[in-house]
């Protein structure tokens, strides 16, 4: 680290992602789910809460096609998704 720089307590350090990098979807096997998710976001003005079920299906598609290491949905933050979706509405 350099010495003599002005004191800056809020420096940003890029960190690697927890599960590494997504393999590229060269064949576009999950492209349909991408489209659905993006349309949902547009309709909801970017509100993530209402579109989470679609991101869940997209990740499930990736796992099924071998484009993502299979992982419990709980570990990806999708617990009680159904209940929350009805609450948001």
């Amino acid at each position: 680290m350099s010495f003599g720089r002005p004191p800056n307590i809020s420096t940003f350090k890029p960190t690697p992602p927890e599960k590494g990098s997504f393999p590229l979807d060269h064949e576009g096997e999950c492209k349909q789910f991408v489209k659905e998710y993006l349309e949902c976001l547009k309709k909801n003005q970017g509100n993530n809460g209402n579109c989470r079920h679609l991101s869940k299906t997209y990740l499930k598609c990736r796992m099924d096609k071998g484009l993502m290491t299979p992982e419990e949905m709980n570990n990806l933050g999708f617990q009680d998704d159904e209940i929350r979706r009805t609450e948001e509405k």
Binding site: M1, S10, T11, F12, K13, P14, T15, P16, P17, E18, K19, G20, S21, F22, L24, D25, H26, G28, C30, K31, V34, Y37, L38, L41, K42, Q45, G46, N47, N48, G49, R52, S55, Y58, L59, M68, E72, N74, N75, L76, G77, F78, Q79, R84, E87
Partner: protein, 183 residues
Amino acid sequence: MYTTAILICGIGFTYASVPLYRMFCQTTGFSGTPITNSSKFGPERLVPAKESRRIRVHFNADTSLALDWSFIPQQREVYVLPGETALAFYTAKNKSDQDIIGLATYNVTPNKAGQYFNKIQCFCFEEQKLQAGEAVDMPVFFFIDPEFPEDPSMRDVDTITLSYTFFKAKYDNNGTLIPVPTL
């Protein structure tokens, strides 16, 4: 007698300082050591904080001038709750007529919010090869740390900007991946 004891302690401490320093670096991320402590990503932390306000995450994309790709975010912004995992997409298209390897890095602004931005999976730091004319969707799966609302210095943070920059890379004669500098 005492000297021998002190000597032995001293040597022991020197040997122990290597793993101790490594443990210290990994927990605190001192000097840029990546923090791979996975307890931050435990399922009990990935619960949306419903009482919190939604934070706007804005997406930005850049490419180095040497890289002939078009790289754009597919959504301008998403509004997320702390602890709520979210998916975002970027699309990259190789506009040239050769296969090109790209390497991405990212930045989070404001700087002080960067420590609360946790990425579960993305496309940065590892090489991504696009064939000539190929277009591909690149997802980012992330969440804002649930401790974000408890930090008083984050009270004025309503927007977090995630900025990805793609650089061109290639393999040199030794098989090492090196960045291609901007011409």
